[in-house]
Symmetry: C2
């Protein structure tokens, strides 16, 4: 459908109902990163410019401000992810933008509002996005740009995994591997905020003490390497109770070790498989120790709970924690939109102490 893209430069705003009346418009050229076939992002992604059409009465025009490159975004383009968008598709799954125009039927959003997408795979790697009211969530302007741009995946995943599988009371214990991952860092901080003890497992590395210090500053109670966990008497000595919950983004032996430490009746939630090895569970752990092995996928939860009050309560709590500084965004680096290949390549070859987000920034 050919539509004229319009940018309003003059507005009359009714104070009573916030309806906006556009008095002068000019056409707007938007840029987006599309792919028409699955493959390596640096090869298949193309920047395309297009003139945006008129807004429908129920539509909202958003100027994107920042959009991260998440590993799952790359896997989606590679065609190896569980989400396979219809092609051609626009890359990117989350981000933050500013409302710059609204159709006449839009009542819940006003010019200048900061918003994040509420639906998966909207395609956020673009300068402008047209959505309807139910597809976006307003976030406060005092929220950092990075926190806002990355709120729907990692912090939400950490929040749900800590909330939805076992009931954690104060001083209960959670154990996780990949604790230095983007999601792992939110687990550390949410545990700290909620009075839950976190035991954090990381791979050994030359600068291990720096990493331990970093995670402890975030709120980690214990940080151990995989080898240290194997020899640890932390639980045997009853220094802390055995964990009710373990969060696994590694798989293989590291997941088995996490399971071994669980309290009877404990749950292991898998949300990643960085080792590329499956999760192996001893029959006796299932039968006699009543260990439950489950998975978590943010995309599924969001689809199932699209309009649930629980979802909006979660964002409210996350935003409050972010606003008062108890939940900090990940290590990040802004990359200009034009330089998207750098952001993708750096994400693919990610090294360093903690997961760093490369975040596309739009002019």
């Amino acid at each position: 459908m050919a539509r004229h893209i319009l940018k309003n430069t003059c507005l009359l705003q009714s104070n009573s109902n916030l309806k906006l009346f556009i008095c002068r418009m000019q056409s707007l050229v938007a840029s987006k990163l599309i792919y028409s076939q699955y493959g390596e992002p640096s090869k298949v992604l193309q920047r395309v410019d297009e003139e945006l059409g008129n807004l429908e009465r129920n539509e909202i025009l958003i100027k994107m401000l920042a959009a991260p490159v998440n590993p799952a975004d790359i896997n989606t383009i590679q065609g190896t992810y569980a989400v396979k968008p219809e092609l051609p598709a626009v890359g990117g799954n989350e981000g933050v933008g500013e409302v710059i125009n609204v159709g006449s039927d839009v009542t819940k959003f006003s010019l200048g509002d900061r918003v994040v997408p509420l639906v998966n795979a909207l395609g956020t790697w673009r300068s402008h996005l047209i959505v309807t009211e139910k597809n976006i969530l307003k976030v406060p302007k005092e929220l950092g740009l990075v926190e806002a741009a990355t709120i729907t995946v990692n912090p939400a995943t950490a929040y749900r995994m800590l909330k939805d599988f076992v009931t954690l009371k104060e001083n209960d214990v959670v154990i996780q591997n990949g604790a230095n991952s983007a999601c792992g860092q939110y687990v550390v901080q949410l545990c700290k905020a909620w009075g839950v003890v976190s035991v954090n497992i990381v791979r050994n590395r030359p600068n291990i003490e720096d990493l331990k210090t970093y995670l402890k500053q975030l709120g980690a109670h214990y940080v151990l390497t995989e080898e240290e966990l194997r020899q640890s008497t932390l639980f045997k000595s009853k220094t802390v109770p055995r964990p009710k919950l373990s969060l696994n983004c590694v798989g293989g032996k590291c997941a088995t070790e996490l399971m071994r430490q669980l309290a009877p009746g404990g749950t292991m939630v898998t949300y990643g498989g960085m080792s590329r090895e499956p999760v192996t569970v001893a029959t006796s752990a299932l039968i006699f120790k009543d260990i439950r092995v489950v998975g978590y996928w943010m995309t599924r939860w969001s689809n199932v709970n699209a309009d649930s009050p629980e979802r909006f309560k979660m964002y409210e709590e996350l935003i409050d924690l972010m606003k008062d500084g108890r939940l900090r965004g990940p290590a990040f680096q802004f990359v200009e939109f034009d330089d998207f290949k750098t952001a993708i390549n750096n994400t693919l070859s990610a090294k360093g102490m903690v997961g760093k987000k490369y975040i596309l920034q739009f002019k």
Copy 2:
């Protein structure tokens, strides 16, 4: 505490409250199979005769009629099971007996009642058993001796696994391996009784067609060997919907294959590990397919639900199904109590098409 064992031979029974008055008693010698150390049952089990003491006012004297040798009973004596009774202990976990005397405070049981033990590890390999009211369940006399003697483990396990993990509606599908095991046969029959489709996996063997016929006669909808399952298009072709539930008593590759066939959101319940291999779960099955991997142990359920209405409802339903012939007991062979070593050795070296129960019979 030294007690005189009494056997009543003459009773006056009050019709109003069923209180029993013992007018003449004589001492009774009971036999039991005890072990004072863990080890091979044929070596550590000893028959011991003892004179039973007086009944307390709240006690019930039971003459055992039949008690099966279950694999878990053997593992318990070997010291390799999750239940480790205080030694010396009496072997055996289930069975059926007849009330032959009751203390003056006993109101719920009368002479001649058929009863099964409701608590684990009471030690049923003995000619006589003294219990209190809450430790036994009355079962109707028209129930077969074998069905009654084996009701608390295998049929109860099958019942709970089909009830407690997913909600099965008519025509829903359950897949299980080890379908010819004692528990597997109850799964087949309960599925049939409840209108649930069972897909039954068994190991290939020379007389495979006989086994298929046997299980189909029990009510199995489909019987496939492990190899046939791998190549089957039963689910792909949508002949039947994918299973919501899989029941695993094998582990290893066979469990992985069962999981692969599950519907998204499906649950695999492990209750045995005959292959001695662990359960391996693909990370993607956990995250993207939302497969849940859990375990079931009848002993834990019974302990947790000792007095729950759900437990008595279960026995009532199982007994009703058994009485009207829709739930048949396992293949079995009675063995004289004195010949207990034969029963144990035959259980240990079990061969044949379907699991056969060796059941101790008391004179």
